[in-house]
């Protein structure tokens, strides 16, 4: 073993000391990268420059981007060296933000960002970890805006399974529910994202979504039309959950299908998998005027989202887990929306299921939505 074959990594910039053939900078063990000259040969400045360019990009001149990234022969050791180097750079950045020159607040901000960056999936967190991340998010918001929000991490309650019923005979298409939903859930005002769609359908044509209008603007109810709303149905067998490659969405024990916005990678598989158009994607950074922000938030619910993540109706988890009706139910002036605990035999939702003729959309898909429609 030569003396140059060190066990640690040292940057060998512009040094004439050549490394042994087994640890060439390009990661090749053969002489293919042209960086291997006879030892003890003095190089002119020009020769050295050419050799250095060859050594660094060599093969990449005739490789496309994919091959450049993936078709690299690299030993385990050099891979670790590179990883270490990039980690050192990252640590340097953190060190800068944590240096004594920076204020306490920016240090705290950086600390929070760091911990948030490397936190786990909410689904796998225990109660302390959930509380910790919620506290961090509240503190972070306070540091950034000076405003205090309250965020909950309330878990699903035993003996609760949320269900929803929608009375098609009653809905008049007023869209009070849509308004209430947008305000409650801090949805992006620029893209006018809406979880709820109210479909105006022609009498006598049944549920014809192809011809239905979900963005009407005229006096309602219109002659010869009926109205029905769709949103996330919180399927008991949700296809959106099955397709998520990172398990950023799941069904909670009380039946709510939720998303960890910080774990979502924005691939939109779930959007494609949902047969009901229940999911929405943030193409741009969601913006809500400060005065309109609903400060009563839940980690899995209406907390402020970021660009590039999925979101959807959560049956207002921040309200429903506290015992309140979702905002749409509360806002509906016609009583077309009924919400409750499916496991409580005395609940109103159970009465509807047992006494009215209920049906669900696309029941044959086996998605088992917990959202029933009925008529008077």
């Amino acid at each position: 073993m030569s003396s140059t074959n060190k066990k640690w990594f040292s940057l060998n910039l512009n040094s004439k000391h050549k490394q042994g053939s087994s640890s060439c900078g390009c990661g090749k063990t053969s002489g293919g990268c042209n960086s291997h000259k006879e030892p003890n040969t003095e190089l002119s400045e020009e020769e050295f420059f050419d050799a250095a360019v060859d050594a660094s990009i060599g093969e990449e001149r005739h490789k496309d981007g994919f091959d450049q990234v993936f078709d690299v022969k690299m030993s385990r050791r050099s891979a670790f060296k590179k990883l270490t180097a990039s980690l050192l750079i990252g640590a340097g950045a953190v060190n800068t933000s944590c240096s004594f020159l920076a204020g306490d607040e920016s240090k705290e901000k950086a600390q929070i960002d760091w911990e948030e960056q490397f936190k786990g999936n909410y689904k796998l967190m225990n109660n302390d970890e959930k509380k910790a991340t919620v506290d961090r998010l509240v503190r972070s918001y306070q540091l950034r805006t000076g405003k205090t929000i309250s965020m909950s991490s309330t878990n699903a309650e035993d003996d609760v399974l949320f269900g929803y019923a929608f009375n098609i005979s009653k809905c008049q298409g007023y869209m009070d529910c849509v308004n209430a939903c947008v305000e409650e859930n801090n949805q992006d005002r620029n893209s006018q994202m809406q979880y709820i769609r109210i479909h105006e359908m022609e009498d006598g044509k049944g549920f014809n979504f192809n011809e239905a209008d979900d963005n009407y603007y005229h006096e309602v109810p219109a002659e010869g039309h009926f109205y029905m709303g769709t949103q996330c149905f919180h399927c008991d067998n949700p296809p959106c959950v099955d397709v998520c490659p990172v398990q950023a969405t799941w069904r909670e024990d009380d039946g709510l299908v939720v998303i960890d916005y910080d774990w979502c990678v924005g691939c939109r598989y779930c959007m494609a998998a949902c047969p009901y158009d229940g999911r929405r994607f943030n193409w741009s950074k969601p913006e809500v005027p400060e005065s309109e922000i609903n400060k009563n938030q839940h980690y899995l619910g209406n907390r402020l989202r970021k660009k590039g993540v999925m979101e959807k109706c959560t049956f207002c988890v921040q309200r429903s887990r506290a015992g309140k009706n979702p905002a749409c139910v509360e806002a509906c002036p016609t009583g077309a929306r009924i919400f409750g605990n499916l496991l409580d035999p005395n609940s109103t939702i159970r009465w509807v299921l047992e006494n009215k003729k209920v049906f669900r959309l696309k029941e044959d898909l086996g998605t088992e939505p917990k959202f029933w429609y009925f008529m008077d």
Binding site: Y174, Q192, G323, G335, G340, P345, I349, W351, D376
Partner: protein, 207 residues
């Protein structure tokens, strides 16, 4: 001997298949309705209660169709109850006298004149109570009994919870709006209006 073993194995296989085929993933129910049925058998109630949300309203308990729930108290909400504070004399006398006019804003649009008029629900000689079709007294707090004389279907749906609205909370104890909280008894129909919202962005996206 060999046949016997084969039979036994096939029977066991059949049993296993029968029990496993109806399972949804790793759960033991075929459908959500089965799940609801099974899991609600030993329902013990939850810690979530509506009490904090209905605290601020005055409620009274009613039991209709064997279902007991709360409705908002009504008399306290009527501005000039009790009615006899003004209606000290029978209505016919008051109409003849040169008294200050009242109730000019009431527009009656409830069924047609052939079917209903003021005295279908009000008793001119006893204005503090409503009256049933047969002339029995009905308290203002139990006005749903008056409505239910004709609107039986809506009434039954309301007692179960399919018609009308819960107040703020889905949790027990149940508090529901009563008929007159949503419907003006004199003009009970809902007016048509413009939608609360129009999504201009959606128009652009679909161009």
């Amino acid at each position: 001997m060999n046949k016997c073993i084969i039979y036994k194995i096939s029977i066991i296989l059949c049993v296993v298949l029968c029990f496993s085929s109806c399972k949804h993933h790793d759960e033991e129910y075929h459908s959500v309705t089965d799940k609801i049925k099974a899991e609600s058998k030993d329902y013990h109630g939850t810690s979530i209660s509506s009490e904090a949300y209905i605290d601020h309203i005055n409620t009274i308990e009613v039991t209709e169709n064997d279902i007991t729930f709360l409705i908002p108290e009504r008399k306290g909400e009527i501005k000039s109850y009790s009615c006899t504070e003004c209606h000290s004399k029978p209505l016919t006398q008051m109409q003849n006298e040169d008294l200050k006019k009242a109730h000019w804003d009431i527009k009656l649009s409830h069924a047609d004149k052939m079917t209903m008029n003021c005295v279908t629900c009000h008793n001119g000689n006893d204005m503090d109570f409503l009256q049933s079709l047969t002339g029995d007294q009905i308290d203002f707090n139990a006005s749903h009994l008056l409505c239910s004389q004709c609107h039986q279907k809506q009434f039954n749906d309301w007692t179960g919870g399919a018609h009308g609205k819960r107040i703020e909370s889905w949790a027990p104890p149940r508090a529901s709006m009563t008929c007159v909280n949503c419907h003006n008894p004199h003009t009970p129909g809902f007016e048509s209006k413009w939608p609360e919202r129009y999504n201009t962005q959606k128009i652009n996206e679909r161009k």
